[in-house]
């Protein structure tokens, strides 16, 4: 199912980076097992995910992690519904990660395989993290390579359309500034090559030919064969005079398709009696449209490259997130030293500046190009339990 999961392979890279950063240099973190459940509902999509991850040290310097993730997708987003039917699909992801520590340096290597009916992804990642300047500074470097096979699922089965190759280079520094303030600067370059379009989505163009009751026609998207992006992010976290923390971040993004985006985030963390941690987060995102994006092209073939993916339209979204974590088994139980259970609920409102809702509106009330702009709300629920041993 290519629609929402076109970028799934990147999840692996992010996960690998997160694993690298949660494991501070010098000492490997505690062994850990995570059971994770997630549910996304919004914009016509219903996605349920379940995963299990186990990390285990085999020595003081070396640990391995295995993870298994399954998500089930039903429904289809509004732009898919304009030219295709609803979909039901399942994705299975398996990954293994190794962490090795030597003095002040930690090395991370991971490999992930993700399979669904119309998309197969294999991703490799290598990263290192180095503490320096009295452990006040941590420098991280990473490299990720992904090879993806892209297909389209139909009544007769899957038609494989081509491959997409991705390379990603990450660099960052984390810096302690005071005994209450830590900051981080991250930079990432991504390059993609190959079949980059979404085969389930269509462009729209004006068509006033007799017998066309809609006033527009639909056609295949034509994407460039390459894509390069840069992102830089700065963030900080501050320990308040009482036991609580505030955080803030900003990210700037630009790419060769003409998309520019800004992301702002603020967070607050409040522990209660050593058993609870409550967190709240606000995130605001804004982007401009890609240079070859249009909601309505003047005629078929009017440009070399044409897209109507709403992810390439001008848009904003605002997310509110609340999260509660409860620590139990403070004295341990059998092999477990401690455990936590977490509930996390996010509400996100997506608004589009030049993507119109043509599924629910059309002639005679709405001429092509005058339909209401599309917007939708999404709810994301996460429940997970972490056991440390």
């Amino acid at each position: 199912m290519a629609n929402p999961d076109r970028k799934l392979s990147r999840l692996t890279a992010v996960a690998a980076l997160l694993l690298a950063r949660t494991a501070g240099a010098d000492v490997l973190p505690d062994d850990r097992a995570d059971l994770f459940y997630s549910k996304y509902n919004g914009g016509g999509m219903d996605i349920t995910g379940k995963s299990v991850a186990v990390r285990k040290k085999v020595s003081e310097q070396l640990s391995f992690e295995g993870d298994y993730f399954v998500d089930t997708v039903s429904g289809a987003s509004v732009d898919v519904l304009t030219s295709a039917s609803k979909i039901h699909d399942q994705r299975t992801q398996k990954g293994i990660t190794a962490n090795y520590i030597r003095d002040k340096t930690e090395y991370t290597a991971s490999y992930t395989n993700s399979v669904e009916d119309d998309y197969i992804s294999n991703t490799s990642h290598f990263g290192l993290s180095q503490d320096m300047f009295g452990d006040l500074t941590t420098v991280t470097l990473g490299f990720t390579s992904s090879r993806n096979r892209v297909g389209e699922h139909g009544a007769a089965g899957t038609t494989w359309l081509g491959h997409a190759y991705s390379l990603s280079y990450q660099a960052g520094v984390s810096q302690i500034l005071t005994k209450s303030l830590i900051t981080g600067l991250s930079f990432e370059v991504n390059t993609d090559q190959g079949y980059l379009a979404n085969p389930y989505r269509s462009i729209r163009y004006l068509d006033n030919s007799p017998g066309n009751t809609k006033g527009y026609g639909l056609g295949a998207q034509v994407y460039p064969g390459t894509h390069t992006s840069n992102a830089v992010a700065l963030r900080a976290k501050y320990y308040l005079p009482y036991r609580a923390a505030i955080s803030g971040s900003y990210r700037f993004y630009s790419d060769t398709w003409g998309v520019r985006a800004n992301t702002f985030e603020l967070g607050y963390t409040q522990p209660v009696r050593n058993r609870w941690i409550f967190e709240g987060r606000v995130r605001y995102y804004k982007q401009g449209h890609a240079s070859f994006y249009s909601d309505l092209f003047p005629f078929a073939g009017s440009q070399n490259f044409m897209a109507r993916d709403k992810e390439l339209a001008a848009s904003t979204n605002l997310m509110l997130d609340v999260k509660a974590t409860y620590a139990f088994l403070p004295n341990g139980w059998k092999v477990f030293k401690r455990a936590t259970v977490t509930a996390d609920v996010s509400r996100i409102r997506y608004k589009y500046g030049d993507f119109r809702n043509i599924k629910n509106y059309g002639l005679p009330q709405y001429a092509p190009g005058s339909e209401p702009l599309y917007h939708f709300d999404a709810t994301v629920i996460q429940l997970y339990m972490s056991m440390f041993f």
């Binding site: 992010v14 996960a15 991280t140 810096q175 991250s186 036991r243 609580a244 974590t325």
Partner: protein, 74 residues
């Protein structure tokens, strides 16, 4: 004036590179930074999932992770 100021800054940086940089936050002063509430993301699986939720619905991608722990608290 501006050129001499730049030269002074450059010289200061060069000389600074010849001295041992002392950590201005000592290990025994890092109890706050070692508190779990100061972790960038305590739960890697959840953080990766939310990054994914946002990334597939937005044009932007990347630079979502902080570099290293940096705490030196272990």
């Amino acid at each position: 004036m501006r050129r001499s100021g730049l030269a002074f800054i450059g010289m200061a940086l060069a000389l600074g590179g010849c001295t041992n940089l002392q950590p201005w936050v000592k290990p025994y002063q890092r109890d706050r930074l070692a508190d779990p509430i100061m972790s960038w993301d305590r739960d890697a699986v959840s953080a990766a999932y939310m990054d994914h939720v946002q990334e597939v619905r937005e044009g932007a991608r990347g630079a979502t992770g902080a570099a290293g722990g940096g705490c030196g608290c272990n």
